[in-house]
């Protein structure tokens, strides 16, 4: 490859040099080295079809060559004339090989006409299969890459929805915290209420006990203060009240 670079640069370099003495290298200075880029790739494309052939043997160019002078029937006249010439002058002698030739040629022509299309289709199919295998690899690669692209897009879409997910989670957590806070608040309230109730109950109990005690003390004192004199007086009064009442009841009846 480097040699190609050198060779490409050589004409310019050689022209830049001072002209060499005539005795030496006249031929070298005047001959052009590679002027075009020689590369093996890409190969020039093959022609699609082979050369046109008439009757399977004679190229079409021969007929075109003779057409200007002899027209359409020219080559056929030439062929017939040659054949008759060879036969009549016995340059070609008709012997047993002629018959054998006729047979083998008819077999060959029959074979070509009958199986030619199939063989060509088979060859084309072989080439098609080769191409299809390579194309399949290419398509497979393209499809897998396309699938990867679609997957990636989906992932990106998923990523966009990430904020909603986080919001929902955040709300969830906030709700849990709130609930937990409320619960504890409730617990505190209950505890405080319990303590206050206890105090209230204690006070109520105390007052009740005081009241009872006071009543008892008053009663005890009153009972103690009732002298026998007073007791007789009260009893007499009760009897009189009762009499009055009974009189009243009798009157009602």
């Amino acid at each position: 490859m480097l040699s190609r670079l050198v060779l490409r640069a050589a004409p310019a370099a050689l022209r830049a040099l001072p002209p060499p003495p005539l005795a030496v290298g006249v031929l070298h200075a005047t001959r052009q080295l590679h002027t075009t880029q020689q590369s093996l790739a890409p190969l020039p494309p093959l022609p699609e079809k082979g050369g046109e052939v008439r009757h399977g043997l004679i190229p079409e160019e021969f007929f075109q060559f003779l057409y200007p002078k002899t027209g359409v029937t020219g080559p056929y006249m030439l062929g017939t004339g040659l054949l008759l010439y060879f036969l009549s002058k016995e340059i070609y002698v008709v012997n047993h090989e002629t018959v054998a030739a006729a047979c083998i040629l008819s077999v060959i022509i029959y074979g070509v006409k009958r199986f030619g299309g199939d063989v060509a289709a088979f060859a084309d199919k072989l080439n098609e299969e080769k191409m299809a295998k390579a194309l399949a690899v290419k398509n497979e690669a393209i499809n897998s890459l396309q699938a990867a692209i679609d997957e990636e897009k989906k992932e990106q879409w998923r990523v966009e929805g990430r904020t909603y997910l986080f919001d929902a989670k955040r709300n969830n957590v906030a709700m849990l915290l709130e609930a937990n806070y409320r619960e504890r608040l409730m617990m505190v309230y209950n505890e405080v209420k319990k303590r206050l109730d206890y105090q209230v109950a204690m006070q109520t109990l105390k007052r009740q006990k005081e009241q009872e005690h006071m009543i008892q003390w008053v009663e005890k004192n009153v009972v103690q203060s009732i002298t026998p004199q007073q007791q007789k007086e009260s009893v007499a009064k009760c009897i009189m009240d009762l009499k009055a009442l009974s009189k009243g009841a009798h009157a009602a009846l």
Partner: protein
């Protein structure tokens, strides 16, 4: 030219220069070598397919060591096939009708298989001389018979190919002579003879292909025994 029946079997020469080399090497010109294109023309595709097919067929029964013989067996097959088929054209010389050439092909190749076997696995190679399950009294006779059959193999290979092709060509010559001779006398019988000739030609095409295949197949069989 006035041909005798010997002319097609004579080694061709032009002004004293033997043309046998050209007639042996010409078939090579009919097979293009694969070019650097990935998708080539139909002819080359078919040729490559055929070569792969033949090689696979010949080498499937052989073990790994026998695959060294792939090139020679396949090229021999293509050589014989082309020479036989080209010999059916009129005025052509078929080198495989010469016993000298067929023996020159068969003998060294057979000897190569034999010596490979005797060198690498002498016991097994000699063991092929006695088929399995023979009754004991027959063993000496059978060994002699098998040795004879072994030694006659190259002769058989060569003579088989020569005889088939020579006989076929000779028959074609004779029947076409009969046709030519009968044509002015009894055209109807001549027509019948031409029909026979057509059938014979088709047979000869088949025989040409089969004989080439059989030659190479037998060689691969001998190789299978010995490798």
């Amino acid at each position: 030219m006035n041909l005798s029946f010997f002319d097609q079997f004579m080694s061709p020469s032009l002004l004293g220069i033997p043309l046998i080399l050209i007639s042996l090497l010409f078939p090579m010109l009919l097979f293009p070598s694969p070019n650097s294109r990935w998708i080539s023309n139909r002819y080359l595709t078919l040729q490559l397919w055929f070569l792969h097919f033949t090689t696979k067929q010949l080498l499937t029964p052989l073990n790994k060591k026998g695959h060294k013989w792939a090139l020679i067996l396949t090229s021999l097959m293509i050589f014989l096939l082309t020479i036989n088929l080209l010999g059916l054209l009129p005025y052509t010389f078929t080198p495989t009708t010469q016993l000298s050439m067929n023996m020159a092909l068969a003998f060294p190749l057979w000897l190569a298989t034999l010596l490979t076997g005797l060198r690498n696995q002498p016991t097994a190679s000699l063991g092929h001389l006695l088929p399995e399950g023979t009754p004991t009294p027959l063993i000496p006779a059978l060994i002699l018979i098998e040795t004879t059959s072994l030694l006659i193999r190259p002769l058989a290979l060569g003579v088989r190919l020569t005889a088939n092709l020579t006989a076929g060509h000779l028959l074609i010559q004779l029947i076409s002579t009969a046709t030519t001779a009968l044509l002015p006398i009894m055209p109807a019988v001549s027509f019948l003879t031409i029909t026979i000739l057509l059938l014979l030609t088709i047979l000869e095409v088949a025989v040409a292909m089969i004989q080439a295949y059989v030659f190479v197949l037998l060689l691969s069989l001998y190789l299978q025994e010995n490798i």
